[in-house]
């Protein structure tokens, strides 16, 4: 179906009747903005819980002999920490949270394509999160977030609970993905062609198919693991003819694209924050947009680089190595484009901008160690050591989580109508930045020296740097605490922001904060890219947005 089928006035330009009552408004809401905020709140609750687990890990590692928790508990703690951070924090925050909250506004839609499906996929998410944490009650999984068989086959009853929880959160992701693809394909405002879409929408547009396709592959792997654990049907058990390596294939066929699910929306956030705070058009708009798609596509073809030590046939290893190097190219294009956007700009160091700049630096470090790891000889040396831990935290915390914080400081006014406190925000940034680097930089050389990951005790020669890391991680936890204090304080007492506190040029800044439940009084018409700061805004039909006039389309029941 051609894009021309998007009708003047947007698809299905009608306004649902305003929801009445607290429950329909804030609990079982159909409004994409409320659902986005629900996602963000829920994910931050899970973030606190799994952050606590991370601090348990670091406290255990204060001493070479551990002693804070037992080894079995330690296994449970890091397994649930990893699973929760990936599936309950980063993915929901970036797709369900910021995706829901921002991109329908940015494309000029009144809501996502399937609001009921959206509500359903939100409500599955906290349920599955509770299930995952409830697995502690019956013996949590102990094989890490990857749950490799045969260890996961022997794990306690909670491992089956883990399968069910991740399966459910996968169903939620799949539905979100379907919803977002249809929304972006069909519900853009008139004139909002693909090459005029804001880059955050491009990030979501590259992510949504990954959510939709890759997550189902994980569902199959999880279903098979569940069936094997509960009914004894052999898939992975080598003594019955199954293959544990098959799990690794199926798992990484999901989880490598999942890495891009966790980073592409963050790329989108950064691409919004940087031009706004350097008052300069983004450099290489099309390159950034298309490189997202290239990363998403290539992400499906590199999964086996996680399995170089798993006995992969040598003739398969080389193509996977080369393809992984190739993914570095579109990522590098992005980094260069962002740097070029900064060059000669009038940079305003707000907290959101600080996080975006921190993102560029830290993500580049994480990306470069990723290139190291793609090289088979190096990977064979550091596989299963703290070098991997350092790499993945640089990408997921230094990349995705920094993106999340940049987005929080940037879009919090749009959610609440109030600004987050900048002073506290800057303390948050600097303490987080220092604490993060202090925690994870030493892991690089610890890993090179051979300190294995996922082990409760370690050789005494690593004691100094481990203590250093633990202390730095407390600093990081303290900075997160500052962030929560900031949010809770600013919701009531923050400075009123007005519709557009940052001088942003995408559509969401042209309407009141927080927006009406119908988003736009008139669906605007779009004439160009949003990033050209020298030109007037490329929108028409927004004149009445900030006035008291009623919306153009009457609210009607359907």
């Amino acid at each position: 179906m051609s894009v021309a089928a998007v009708h003047p006035g947007g698809i299905a330009d009608h306004i649902h009747p305003e929801p009445q009552g607290f429950v329909r408004r804030y609990v079982f809401s159909l409004d994409h903005k409320i659902i986005g905020i629900q996602y963000i709140i829920t994910a931050f609750v899970f973030f606190m819980l799994s952050g606590l687990l991370a601090e348990v890990i670091r406290t255990q590692l204060l001493n070479p002999n551990g002693g804070f928790v037992s080894s079995d508990t330690y296994n449970e703690v890091y397994s649930v920490h990893g699973s929760a951070m990936v599936w309950l924090v980063i993915i929901p925050l970036l797709t369900g949270g910021f995706g829901n909250l921002v991109f329908p506004l940015q494309i000029g839609a009144r809501d996502v394509a399937f609001p009921w499906l959206n509500m359903l996929s939100f409500w599955i998410f906290p349920v599955s999160g509770l299930m995952l944490f409830a697995s502690f009650l019956m013996g949590a999984p102990t094989a890490g977030w990857m749950e490799y068989p045969p260890v996961s086959l022997q794990g306690a009853a909670g491992t089956s609970m883990w399968c069910a929880a991740i399966f459910l959160v996968g169903v939620s992701s799949t539905m979100t993905g379907i919803n977002f693809v249809v929304t972006i394909l069909k519900m853009r405002a008139p004139g909002m062609t693909f090459t005029r879409m804001p880059l955050f929408c491009w990030g979501q547009f590259a992510t949504a198919p990954l959510l939709m396709i890759a997550t189902t592959a994980l569902a199959a792997a999880l279903a098979a693991l569940f069936i094997e654990r509960e009914f004894g049907v052999p898939f992975y058990d080598p003594t019955k003819g199954g293959s544990p390596v098959m799990w690794q294939h199926m798992f990484w066929f999901y989880s490598h694209p999942a890495v891009y699910i966790m980073i592409l929306p963050a790329f989108g956030i950064i691409s919004e924050v940087l031009p706004t705070f350097s008052r300069k058009p983004i450099f290489g708009y099309k390159l950034i947009a298309f490189s997202s798609m290239a990363i998403a596509l290539a992400g499906f073809m590199v999964w086996a680089h996680h399995m170089f030590t798993s006995g992969l046939a040598p003739f398969l290893q080389l193509p996977f190595m080369i393809l992984t190097f190739v993914i570095g190219v579109p990522t590098g294009i992005k980094i260069f484009s962002w740097t070029a956007t900064l060059f000669g700009g009038k940079i305003h160091f707000s907290t959101a901008m600080l996080f975006a700049l921190g993102f560029i630096g830290l993500f580049t470090l994480g990306g470069i160690t990723g290139i190291f790891l793609a090289a088979i000889p190096f990977d064979l040396h550091v596989h299963g050591t703290y070098f991997i831990v350092a790499h993945l935290h640089y990408v997921l915390v230094g990349g995705s989580l920094m993106g999340v914080f940049a987005g929080m400081y940037y879009w919090f006014p749009k959610m609440s109508g109030r600004l987050l406190n900048e002073t506290l925000g800057k303390w948050h940034f600097w303490l987080f930045f220092l604490g993060f680097n202090g925690t994870f930089i030493p892991m690089h050389w610890l890993g090179m020296l051979g300190m294995p990951r996922e082990v409760a005790t370690y050789d005494p020669q690593f004691a100094f740097w481990n203590r250093f890391e633990s202390v730095a991680s407390y600093l990081m936890a303290f900075s997160i605490l500052l962030f929560f204090v900031n949010v809770l304080w600013s919701i009531r007492n923050g400075k009123r922001s007005g519709p557009n506190p940052w001088g942003g040029r995408t559509l969401e800044w042209q309407i009141p904060s927080p927006p009406h439940y119908y988003n736009f009084k008139h669906i605007p018409t779009v004439y160009g890219l949003p990033y050209d700061f020298a030109q007037p805004l490329p929108y028409k039909g927004l004149d009445e947005e900030l006035t008291d006039s009623p919306p153009a389309v009457a609210a009607g029941a359907h």
Binding site: A5, G177, T215, K240
Partner: protein, 204 residues
Amino acid sequence: MTAATLAHDAHGDVDQLYIETRELRLQGFLLFLISDCVLFSSFIFAYLYMRNSGQGWPPPGIHRLDVPFAAWNSVVLFGSGATMHYALENFKHGHWMRYMIFLLATIVLGAGFLAGQGYEYTHLIYGEHVTWAGSGIFGASFFTLTGMHGLHVFIGVCYLTVLVLQSSAGVYTRGKYFGITAGTLYWHFVDVIWVVLFSIFYLI
């Protein structure tokens, strides 16, 4: 069918809202089918992976599957695809009675396929003692994949039964019949999955 042509042969019961939401629902449904397809593909990958890592197929002690019966049963399912196609065609052209007959024929053929699969399962489990959990990777892959497909067929039969009831109650009109289109898409999808499963389990 594009929005324009649909509006063109509208019979006074199609509004703009329906046309637009129909486009959304159609796309959403196709994307759902794609992700369902990935689910099957993953299990098919698992089956082929296990099949090629073992000591020949079928593993020692297990007979080859009964091809003639499966061929016959497959044709029953493929035939139901053809009748479903004609059900939709007749509905589009307003032949309500023929639509009903073809729809009912589809249900009967689909149920027949399920019965055939039940017969095959009974034969395997009680005749040859091949079970889901007790026969190694053969039982695991065969019963999981065909069972998952059978579940899809069962859901499809239920869906089509609902379609019969809804059609009798006059839910669908000549302008508004997305439910029937979706049912046809789903049913074809289930058929096509069986083409693949039939080939990889019985023919190679």
